[in-house]
Structure formats: structure tokens, C-alpha cells
Symmetry: C2
């Protein structure tokens, strides 16, 4: 680990992979003749929707949880996340048998709270505002002494996410490019960390909703720009870059591409229809940008990270459009 | 092939497998820790929803189409089916480059007609009645001289479907039982044909909607009983057994189990939610019956045939319930 920003290095990815292997799936890579014809590229879908807890986030969460010493682990872990990170950290802590607290807005869906409780989490509700979340979270940490595992701006989490592209690189020969959705940048940073070490010739693209394009604008401006309460169907991608993820994104990403809400929903729909897999809106963003920018990918072998499959099956976005 | 009923034998399955291999997927087998815990059994899901044209039916259809001599093939093939068989036969004929006519009620969903046309089929509409369908189909056959490929009561089709359990048996060691949905009985007959030859100790269960339980009642009565216009969400399972499928079902099936509409919808929902795969209502019936009869399957290694994934994503059954 380098010192200034506490950034992970590739040895951390290797250590993470060994540490988390008993607790995660080596997820399969699927292909689709239909999408290859449609795009003119060869697409390889790395299916983290089949991952434990339904998303890649379990890689970073397990790396953090199983990397704790027994003394550290005794006080448990804590985070604030109403999404896949909260669920993944609950899974990891439950698996190790240590306490986990998740601070979550009282307005979050009951199903998400129930799923976290199902893994053994203590749910602590806050008001749906940043100030309330921070205050409640500080209190939880003070009372429990729990280790804070940030959803993405944490070297252990970034190293854990880096194991995904390491597998992809082993599973698919001759990749020319990899594309993943970008929110806070944990998956993209892990991808940068791994590929810049083992296959620096592979291009790395990040895909983002037009309506939450802070990473795109940051990338073009050369410094972090945070969005003010973006609204997008890709609800996993609303959060801003932080200093650790900005480091990797600014240094190694080839380009960031964006797609509209309708393009994201359309890409999600045809993925379900043609590939028969359940994917979240967030992981339809890469395919949406590939369909929008065929000239960038034509003739290339492209790894597409399907980040997760946790979606409310009773309120699908094409039902409302 | 034995003579009296023109029944396929296991050599026909082997020949079918070789014939269709270039045109189908060897589909993956998925497992789910969640469902294993829930049922007390070890379940192995053979994912024919990832099959070409989205369903196992393409096995039988390809076997029929690619088994024709060039002289026979010239006049093409024809069938009546608004479901997966029509789609699969269209795929197979399109792949061989021969004509295919599908007689389909004018009331069938436009999306299905479009999908068949997409593979090159000629759609011939009839009224939604048996008499109209038969009259229109007779006319099509007379005009084209096409070879009639029945959806299931055809030895070539049964032999083709038998390749699925042959793969499953290769992919999973030590199976104790296999369960598949039953409508006309093509998949179950193919399963009987294959397993009775290569692994006769493996139990074979068929799963059927309570509201279309003609196979169940036939099995108990010892002769074919046909339902009069059954209504079920599992729309692939409405058709009755015919003499060839009855032969295999009556001879080799261990038992037929049934599930209610709500149990089928619930099983479909949790499959989507937990396994992140898109499956049709029909292929949720086996899981529904396993959940309903845990004592039958407890402690066993059970192959579950996921027959297809062609579903209208805009009208999901849990949206209406």
C-alpha cells in the first residue's frame, strides 16, 4: 500500500482475492450473439448479478471484513448505504459472525432493510438528509467502536473490487477494452488498479447516466466536481467521486461515456429480454453507451461488467415509461 | 426407432445430439445456496432459458429440420404453435435456410409473430379455434408440401428433447432425481427416454399446474384424459398428452406433482429475485412443487429443468396479482 493517500497497490488485489475466495462466487462470463451482431463488437458480460448478495460490492466488503484482526473485528463494522454496499457488508459481517450496523434513511424500501436484517445487520434509521446521516452515523460509531467501511473511498474496498477484472482477464483471452458503470468509482478504480498492472494495453471505459454525469464532467475538467442531488433510474450511480477513486479514474481511464435515461432503460429491457438475466438499471449503462457509440467499440473484444441484479421486480422502469 | 408407434430409441437421442450440436447451446447448470437451504435438497438448474430462441424446444425443432433430406427440406416445414415451438422451428428452418410456415391465431401477441418473422417464418393467421386452426393448417400443408413438425408428438422432437437430460447427466454427478414441467410431455418424454437408458435409477418427476392437471389425472387413471380449455399462467403447459408422450410418461415417470397458480407465481418471483434469471411461468412449476412437497426431495440431488425464458416483460404475473 502506498502511503500518501493510502492507496492500494496490486499486491493488495492479490491478497484480497485469496482472502475473499471462500466467500464469493467466481462469476461466469456470458456472451450474446444478438448483441455482438447489434454492436459489431465481441462483448463478454462478467455477471456480478450472480454474485453473493447480488452485486460486485461483496468483493470489497468481504476484503474489509475478513482483513480485520480478531481484536478489531470484535467491535464490528458499520456503514451508511441503502444500496448494495450495505447489503454486501451485512453479508460479509454475518459470514464472519461479527456485528454490523447500517445507517439508512427511514424512507428507504422496507425490502432492503429486511434483506440486510436477514444477514444479521442492525439497521439504524436516519432522516433522508446528509446532515442527519452524518450525525446518526457518528453516534453509531462512537457507541460501537465499529470499523467504518466506506462504500468506495476505502483502499480495502478498491482492492476487493479489483479482483473482478482479474477474473475477467483470466476468463477471456485477448480483451481490447473493459467497460463498467461509474458512480463513486469503486469498481472502475479496482479495474484500473488491476489492469494497469497486468494488462496496461487494455482500454478502460466508464459509463455514466447523463443525468448524474459528475464523473464525466470531473474527467473533462481535471478535478472532482460533485453533483447536487442527481436524479436517475440508475440509482447506484448517484454518488460522487472521492480522492482515492479520482486518483485511479484520472490516471487510467480511457474515456467516460454517458447515456440518457431512456437509453439506459432500453438497454436494460433488451438485456432481460435477450439474455434472460435480471440486471439493475446501473449495469445497463455500459451497454447503452456501447449502442450509442458503436464506432468506439467496433471490432474490439470488450469486457462488460454487469455490476448487480438487485432490483425491485414490482416496479420495473419500463412499466412507468 | 421401434415400429408400432414410431417411437424414438436412445440411438436417436445420440444421433440427435450430434446433429443439433452446432446449432444449440450446451446450457449451463446453476445452483443456489438459498434454494438448497429452503428445500433441504441440492438443486441443479439446467438453464434452457439461455438456450437459442430462449427455450429447450429448439432441440427437437433442430433435430427435425436438420434430419430432413435435401429433397424433403426443399418444401420446408410447418407447424401450428403460438409459443416456443413455433419460435424454435422458425429459428431452425432459418438456420438451414428453408421455408417455414407457422399457423397462429390472429389474437396471438404481435411480439411473438414478429419474433418468428425475424427468423424468416411465414405467419399464417387463423381464428382462435381448433377447427379453424386445423382447416388453415391443412391448406398450408397442401399448398406447400411442407413437413409437419408437431410440437411434441413427433419421434424426432422427443429424441431432440432427450439431449437435454443427457447433458444434465454429464454435467452433474450423482443425480437422484430430475424434475421437469409437463404440458404435452415432449421434454418429460425425452427425459424418460434418455434416463431410462443411461441412468434408470434416477427418479423422474413431472410438475403441472393444478388448473391444467390433465397429465396428473391421466397418470392416476392409466389412460389419456384431455382438459377442455384449461386456464393457467403457465401458458406453455395447457396442451394434452398424445400417444407417443403418454407411452413414455406412463412407463417411466415416478410421479406427477401439481401446484396452484399462486404457488407458481411465487416460485417464479423468488427465482427471478434470488437467482437473477428470467424464467417463464411454466418453468417455475417444478420449483413450486418441490417447495410444496419437501419430503419427496429432501436430501436428494435434483436436476430441475428450466425450460425457457420467453416472457412478456411488460405484463408480469405478480403485477396483476
Amino acid at each position: 500500500m502506498t502511503t500518501d493517500l493510502q492507496l492500494p497497490d496490486f499486491d493488495d488485489v492479490i491478497a484480497a482475492h485469496e482472502r475473499i475466495a471462500p466467500h464469493i462466487h467466481r462469476t461466469p462470463v456470458l456472451t450474446s450473439e444478438y448483441f455482438n451482431k447489434l454492436t459489431g463488437a465481441e462483448l463478454f458480460f462478467k455477471c456480478e448479478n450472480f454474485q453473493k448478495a447480488g452485486a460486485f460490492k461483496v468483493r470489497g466488503a468481504c476484503n474489509a471484513v475478513f482483513g480485520l484482526s480478531d481484536a478489531q473485528a470484535k467491535n464490528g463494522v458499520a456503514t451508511h448505504s441503502s444500496g448494495n454496499h450495505g447489503l454486501s457488508l451485512s453479508y460479509a459481517a454475518g459470514r464472519r459472525g461479527i456485528p454490523v450496523s447500517v445507517v439508512i434513511p427511514r424512507t428507504a424500501p422496507q425490502a432492503k432493510k429486511d434483506a440486510m436484517r436477514g444477514y444479521g445487520a442492525t439497521i439504524v434509521e436516519c432522516e433522508p438528509s446528509t446532515s442527519s446521516r452524518e450525525a446518526v452515523f457518528a453516534k453509531v460509531q462512537e457507541e460501537t467502536g465499529a470499523d467504518f467501511v466506506h462504500p468506495y473511498n476505502d483502499p480495502r474496498v478498491i482492492a476487493g473490487q479489483g479482483t473482478c477484472s482479474r477474473e475477467l482477464h483470466e476468463q477471456v483471452e485477448g480483451l481490447d477494452a473493459v467497460i463498467a458503470p461509474i458512480g463513486g468509482g469503486g469498481m472502475v478504480s479496482g479495474t484500473c488498479l488491476t489492469l494497469s498492472n497486468i494488462a496496461p494495453h487494455i482500454e478502460i471505459y466508464a459509463a455514466e447516466p447523463e443525468q448524474a454525469d459528475d464523473a464525466y464532467r470531473s474527467f473533462k475538467a481535471g478535478h472532482i466536481i460533485a453533483d447536487d442531488a442527481p436524479v436517475t433510474v440508475a440509482d447506484g450511480l448517484k454518488v460522487p467521486l472521492k480522492e482515492r477513486t479520482w486518483h485511479f479514474v484520472s490516471k487510467h481511464v480511457t474515456d467516460i461515456l454517458t447515456a440518457s435515461e431512456q437509453e439506459i432503460i432500453d438497454a436494460m429491457f433488451i438485456t432481460w429480454q435477450r439474455m434472460k438475466i435480471v440486471i439493475e438499471p446501473s449495469c445497463a449503462v455500459p451497454l447503452a453507451t456501447i449502442l450509442k457509440n458503436p464506432e468506439v467499440f467496433k471490432g474490439k473484444r470488450v469486457g462488460v461488467v454487469i455490476t448487480g441484479g438487485n432490483v425491485d421486480l414490482k416496479t420495473l422502469p419500463w412499466m412507468q415509461s
